[in-house]
Symmetry: none
Subunit: 198 residues, 4 copies
Amino acid sequence: MTDQPSPPRGRPRDPKSHAAVLDAAFTVLEREGYAATTIERIAAQAGVAKQTIYRWWKGKAPLFMEVLARKANQSVQLPDTGSFQGDLTALLTGTFAAVSTTLRPLMRALAVELLQDEEFAGAMRDVFVQRRRANVRALVQQAIGRSELPVDTDVELVCDLVFGIMWYRLMFDHAPLDKCAARQIACAATAAAVQNNV
Amino acid sequence: MTDQPSPPRGRPRDPKSHAAVLDAAFTVLEREGYAATTIERIAAQAGVAKQTIYRWWKGKAPLFMEVLARKANQSVQLPDTGSFQGDLTALLTGTFAAVSTTLRPLMRALAVELLQDEEFAGAMRDVFVQRRRANVRALVQQAIGRSELPVDTDVELVCDLVFGIMWYRLMFDHAPLDKCAARQIACAATAAAVQNNV
Amino acid sequence: MTDQPSPPRGRPRDPKSHAAVLDAAFTVLEREGYAATTIERIAAQAGVAKQTIYRWWKGKAPLFMEVLARKANQSVQLPDTGSFQGDLTALLTGTFAAVSTTLRPLMRALAVELLQDEEFAGAMRDVFVQRRRANVRALVQQAIGRSELPVDTDVELVCDLVFGIMWYRLMFDHAPLDKCAARQIACAATAAAVQNNV
Amino acid sequence: MTDQPSPPRGRPRDPKSHAAVLDAAFTVLEREGYAATTIERIAAQAGVAKQTIYRWWKGKAPLFMEVLARKANQSVQLPDTGSFQGDLTALLTGTFAAVSTTLRPLMRALAVELLQDEEFAGAMRDVFVQRRRANVRALVQQAIGRSELPVDTDVELVCDLVFGIMWYRLMFDHAPLDKCAARQIACAATAAAVQNNV
DNA sequence: TTCTAAGCGAGACGGTACGTCCAGTCTTCGT
DNA sequence: ACGAAGACTGGACGTACCGTCTCGCTTAGAA
């Protein structure tokens, strides 16, 4: 029994408007900051009616979630340098490069939303956070396979360690997220993973 | 020559209003969530005119900063268990207890603000963040004194590791900040600190 | 080439809101007096958002100007009793009847505004004042046509005399604007018009 | 037995403040218009506390009433040119000179108040309006004494005619209040007074 | 072709909160 | 007791967005 999602009747969604809204959202966010990023401004910037935004997104949060998806969809191919620390350094270098430039305003914006809306926090967690954590988990499994890390390594703690620092620096801006940071954090994570006699 | 800050003229600030606003801010935040916490509602709850709030605070951000100061001013006395890991576990246990209960809504609220306002982010960093980091720094110094940790331990990284995870869990709520978490994080931090051959 | 005032786009103005605001303005004015007649109260009384008032009127002054236009739009048909004094008495009797009852609060309200705003005073002068003066001017021309008044009668002075007294009594309330007043003023105006050897 | 109005105790009223307020009121009124003439601005301009104004006056209305009293207190000495029309022309010339220059903003300001407050309207009527009308009444009596006008001349109507036009022109500014106007109005008033066969 | 359904730009609508201003009152210190 | 300073409650201001609701006009597949 196929689940027919009803035959598409009426005028189909205009892909130009769709794209224009996503672009406008990002543009306004970058130019004016999130506090000034209202639906009205996005609509104006996109040359689109407000209703067209509300028709397709419930609010700013899901809209920016899609913007982030657009910008961050390039599937990361996992590195394999031979050592866990090397792999992690490579992964984080790439991640941090994106996160500290293009994605930075987006992630901060989404953080604002998820801090105020439990439901949206759940959605974000299930989509973006898990995706990134999965990469690290994979590296850990790889290292366990190589017997580089103990089988009972606390994977979640390693993930928390890595992404905790990342978000912390994204929020407070007190230290950079550059290549050097990637190396240091990978080192710390490795040490923590190895010595995981909880 | 003492710096006389001008003799106090006019009617002095009413301490009752002052306290009522701080209490009301916290009450409304807890009861209705930060999204619904408007200046108007706080004023109504406090039985105070809006102007009285605007006279003393520039907006919600500085107001809640003072609320947090009130709630978090109890000076933590540093533990001395004999080992760095023990000390850190003790410190974090106390910190997490506060942060995951009373302070939780406050810290999330302030995060919302600092993510949208660079200037306020700076203020928060200089006051609260530094205060908490100072505690950890002190423990690290203690441990270095005991030759438990190398003299060139990367103190800042240790701090980032600890508070990164704390904020990360505060934001996404994907794991608790309980006694067990304190122990695990202390363990990871110790491992990272010892093995700090950057 | 007709002057196309642009095709109407977007949702058209809601005539119900329009009427509700005008009615509410009048109601509140009558019930609470002009000092208490705020835009907010009018909006509340009309069951309308404040913005809907500000969208269509610049402030209380133009709003009440339209209210007055509504109430006073019945075109007066000029009397023709055979004598100037009779005509004027008839005209003033009708005018005073309206002005001392329904229109009274409106005219006082508009006076408040025009006394504080030169620009609005100009608008009022060009619309309402001129309309009323035109009636008297027409009567004077009629009388000149009948050789009842000299050709060089100072029409403007006659208008000033008549409406001067009307406004003066509207302001200070020291004497009525009834049928008797109409007769007396018509008599005085006639005497002044005849004897106009400046 | 002297009527001691209670022995003056405490610090007596500061005449400098008193004068400063009156001056400031007039200054602000002239410089910024009545709409912008708030008690706060007057107090600031006078270098006086708001309370000092509220202690001595109930509001703007009575305050400006006193300002007007200051400016208009020069007792007019009634002219006696031999004819009613001449006398009236002389009186009005002087009155109009003051009313169309210095007193203009004050009278418009007071008109705003009395239009919104019946009680204050009464006060104004009993003081200023009556004072001015008394002058005209005296001229009429003089003329009756000279048998220039009938004994049953409608004095009140003559007053209304004269001051009606004056206020009307003050409000709408459609015609000047100059010497010429005085002459014309005196002429019209005389004609109306003579022909007063009501 | 005509009909029907939905998308779309435009913009009015009822609301809510903003941050400011002023009204009047109250409280403190100094004269 | 008066006066200057200025904090206080209260309430209206005019503006900005929210999210919803008509409008007239496409733009498609179905009849």
